[in-house]
Amino acid sequence: MPTILIVDDNLLACEAISLVLESAGFQVTQAHRVAEAVESVAKSCPDLAIVDLSMPDGNGVDLIRRLHQSHPALPIILYSGFFTPEDDSEKRAMEMEGVVAVFKKPLRNNDLLAAIRRALDPEADA
């Protein structure tokens, strides 16, 4: 059963997404801070991380860079409430190493689950 780490400082959002993922059969770990996320990844070695770009104790971009350095194989899905449809920061986030998908809040369950499945099983998608 794949383990997914959700990193989001918004507890409600974090809880809601983990409920969705758990009901889809994933094991979910939550982290609300950068430090927590780094620790959690080191400890439980998740199969995938969903990271909110804005964090209270650090930048999501930094976190992604660190996660990718320590676990280059870890696929990361990025999402943020600060993206706007035409904003090119979304495009830039997409180009980051390790990032497999970028979503803006609010993201839809189906979109998220599809992206997770694609990330965990690239062959199946291909």
């Binding site: 918004n10 409600l12 959002a13 809880e15 809601a16 997404i17 409920l19 969705v20 009901s23 409430g81 600060f82 706007t84 449809p85 035409e86 904003d87 090119d88 803006k104 809040k105 609010p106 993201l107 839809r108 369950n109 189906n110």
Partner: protein, 804 residues
């Protein structure tokens, strides 16, 4: 030549010239008559009274200064004649006459000038003295001869004294006018002396004839002749009387030799006539000299230079002022050619004048302005008035008086004045031009609040009709007119209008902005020292518009930041709603109540998401699209997409101005462009209650950037797209807020209040501007200015993130 006569005449003498003349005339006559009566026996004695009479005549002739002395001498001679032999009396008489002549010469013509005239004078005096001195010798040479034999030559010689004296008078220098020639052009004096000489000579020669008994008649005839010729009736009459009296003595005293008595009588008559004539001439001359003296003194005191020039162009007379103007003593000017006084430039003109004088013409022009040199090399500008009077033919030598006025200082002053006037005129012109060039309206009012002066902008800005734009228009009339334009609001009373005016013209001259003829005009006044005031009108329309734009921009920026923050928070909050409602929907029984509930929650969340996206569009500061989009085709594409969605009663008219450059393009996203147009057109259609004509005008324009500073706003070529509706219009107050997010005039449930805010955000991201112009009741015009792309347009105001 000063008049010293009163001081020289003894005070016991009558002061009136005519009284003196009569006194002396009759005094002399009495003496002669008395001597004649007494001279009966001794030889030579009867001659003496005649000499005495002559002395009287001479004394008279030679002027009042010697009158008393001559009279006294005559009297002495008579007494000597009475007392003893007449011979004894001759030497002192001769000495006296000589002294008188010499003194007279010196008195009349100081200093003696060695001119031809002076020499002639001296010669006459010497000859007269010599003749007088010779008389005693004549008597001494023939003592035995009877007194009658020497009488004729003696009478002749004595008679010739007068011609000499007359000649002396002729030679005597005198002032003007010198009546030297008579009407025939003959020298007056020469004629006089000739006539007199002839008369006397005839008298002497006729002595013999008279001895035959015809003497009274001859004496009378001579007297009349003399009187006629000299014009001296008194003298003539007196001579006749004297002759008659002498005759009567002769008849009474029989033994007296007839020829002696006759000669004596003739002598007396002639002497009296001559004396009378001479005295009259003398009086006249003295009066003339007196007048001349006064005239000359007057002329000398004149502030005008007076120079007399003869026909050779030489200066023959000059007054002190002339000397002062020319810078030397007046005396030094005499004999100097006038022409040579002029500067080189003035000489031809002066030469022309002299030529005119020589040809006996009035110099033309009569007034000439010339420059005269002074000895120090400087020049004076003078005006010369050539006073030329055509002389009667041969009447007197030709002279021209030049009246010289030094106009150097006057001319300088006039020139300075002219310069000042010129400067003043130039300044006035400059002021007028400057005033007219001003963008402000300016008008000066008199202290009584009437219009005095104004510039071109003043009536233009106030829309003043020409009857009001006149000097003297009362300020209140202008204010009343402005009130009719609605400048002070609707329904203002006369008192309110007056209060407005008072507020402007009385310090502290409260500033006011008035809305006149579609312009914001700011009134201000400056009070002048004399109580007048200047009304200044400034068009603040553009400033106020730019200020509004800037204020709006700042407001929108603040709103954007706020909205952006709220939107992001909302997005975060929407996340669990979406996640959980979708999860719930997935887990619930299809079509169950729970499923429907979750479905509605998802719908509501979606609507909220749409709103948040709109807010973010309004608020974001996205980078500019990279490609250039041709504006006009994009406009038509967008309208083609919009048109089907519009209510069928709305007619859409599109016009594209020719002034738009071919291929005008901008950095914008077609989708955004479509969204902006959709928002604007939909809004317009809503405002028009879905019926009427909706116009979209596309034209070339300039886009002005106000950066909130005082600096001149920057401009850029742009395309303006105006969406014109004929709807309800927008209040001025609402206009300020119309681009704010969630500001809507629509009913609840119609629209999100984000359409214009989104359009605002998008247009701003293009670097463009959106604005609304509206007249309540008539409709609104929303205009977007899209800056043109391309290096030639972007140069200075490229969208540079560092700039802001």
């Amino acid at each position: 030549m000063t008049d010293t006569r009163p001081s020289r005449i003894p005070s016991f003498f009558p002061s009136s010239p005519s009284a003196r003349r009569w006194l002396l005339f009759f005094g002399g006559f009495a003496l002669v008559a008395a001597a004649d009566a007494a001279a009966v026996t001794p030889e030579g004695a009867p001659l003496l009274p005649g000499i005495g009479a002559w002395c009287l005549a001479l004394g008279w002739l030679w002027g009042p200064a010697w009158l008393g002395a001559a009279t006294a001498a005559g009297a002495a001679t008579v007494l000597l004649g009475l007392a003893g032999p007449g011979i004894v009396a001759w030497p002192p008489l001769a000495a006296f006459a000589l002294a008188a002549l010499v003194l007279r010469v010196r008195a009349v013509a100081p200093p003696v000038r060695w001119t031809g005239r002076g020499i002639l004078e001296g010669g006459c005096v010497a000859a007269a003295a010599a003749l007088l001195g010779a008389l005693p010798a004549l008597f001494a040479a023939s003592p035995e001869a009877g007194i009658g034999t020497v009488l004729d030559p003696l009478a002749g010689a004595l008679a010739w004294l007068y011609p000499f004296a007359a000649l002396y008078r002729l030679a005597e220098p005198r002032g003007f006018p010198p009546p030297l020639r008579n009407r025939w052009g003959w020298p007056t004096r020469a004629v006089d002396l000739g006539v007199m000489g002839v008369c006397v000579f005839l008298a002497a020669c006729l002595g013999g004839f008279a001895a035959e008994g015809g003497w009274p008649l001859i004496g009378a005839a001579l007297a009349v002749l003399a009187a006629a010729l000299t014009g001296n009736l008194v003298g003539g009459a007196a001579a006749a009387l004297a002759a008659g009296l002498a005759g009567s003595f002769t008849v009474a005293d029989g033994p007296v030799p007839l020829d002696l008595e006759l000669g004596n009588a003739v002598l007396v008559a002639v002497g009296l006539v001559a004396g009378g004539f001479a005295s009259r001439t003398r009086e006249r001359q003295e009066d003339a000299e007196h007048t001349v003296g006064r005239t000359k003194a007057l002329l000398d005191s004149l502030p005008i230079g007076l120079v007399e020039i003869d026909e050779r162009g030489l200066i023959v007379q000059a007054n002190p002022m002339a000397g002062e103007i020319i810078g030397c003593a007046a005396m030094d000017l005499l004999g100097h050619p006038f022409e040579r006084l002029g500067t080189e430039a003035s000489r031809p003109m002066l030469a022309e004048v002299i030529r005119a004088i020589r040809h006996r013409r009035q110099p033309d022009p009569r007034f000439t302005t010339v420059f005269l040199y002074r000895p120090d090399g400087s020049a004076r500008e003078v005006e010369v008035d050539w006073v030329y009077q055509r002389p009667p033919m041969g009447r007197r030598p030709l002279r021209v008086a030049a009246l010289i006025t030094d106009i150097t200082d006057r001319r300088r002053a006039v020139r300075a004045l002219e310069d000042r006037e010129h400067q003043l005129a130039e300044r006035t012109d400059l002021l007028r031009i400057t005033m007219d060039a001003l963008d402000h309206g300016l008008a000066a009012f008199n202290p009584d609040d009437t219009l005095m002066e104004w510039n071109a902008r003043f009536p233009e800005m106030l829309r003043l009709p020409s009857p009001l734009a006149r000097p003297g228009t009362p300020a209140i009339a202008i204010f009343r007119f402005l009130a009719t334009l609605g400048a002070f609001g609707v329904g203002v009373t006369e008192g309110q209008v007056r209060a407005r005016m008072d507020r402007l013209i009385h310090p502290p001259n409260a500033d006011d902005v008035h809305w006149i003829g579609g312009h914001h005009l700011r009134f201000s006044a400056h009070t002048m020292a004399d109580g007048g005031w200047v009304w200044r009108i400034e068009d603040r329309t553009e400033d106020i518009r730019l200020r509004d734009i800037e204020q709006n921009r700042q407001k929108m920026e603040a709103l954007g930041q706020l909205a952006s923050g709220v939107a992001h928070e909302l997005n975060n909050t929407l996340q669990p709603i979406f996640s959980l409602s979708e999860l719930g929907l997935a887990q619930a029984e299809p079509d169950s109540l729970v499923a429907r509930c979750f479905g509605r929650i998802t719908d509501a969340a979606e609507r909220a998401e749409t709103i948040v996206r709109g807010v973010l569009t309004f608020a974001r500061n996205a980078p500019v699209a990279e490609g250039d989009t041709p504006i006009v085709p994009a406009l038509f594409d967008a309208l083609a997409f919009i048109r089907p969605g519009l209510p069928s009663q709305i007619r859409l008219e599109v016009s594209v101005d020719d002034g738009i450059p071919e291929g005008a393009a901008a950095r914008l996203d077609r989708r955004e462009f479509g969204q902006v147009l959709t928002n604007l057109v939909t809004n317009a259609a809503d405002a028009m209650d879905h019926a009427g004509t909706l116009r979209v005008d596309c034209r070339a324009d300039m886009l002005r950037y106000a950066d909130g500073t005082e600096a001149e706003p920057e401009t850029r070529p742009a395309v303006a797209v105006a969406v014109v509706d004929t709807g309800k219009g927008i209040d001025h107050a609402l206009k300020q807020r119309i681009f704010e997010p969630f500001f809507t005039t629509k009913d609840e449930g119609h629209g999100t209040g984000l359409g214009l805010a989104v359009a605002f955000g998008i247009v701003r991201n293009w670097g463009g501007r959106i604005d609304v112009d509206s007249e309540p009741g008539l409709g609104s015009t929303f205009t977007i200015w899209i800056p043109l792309s391309g290096p030639e347009h972007e140069g200075e105001h490229a969208h540079d993130p560092d700039r802001r």
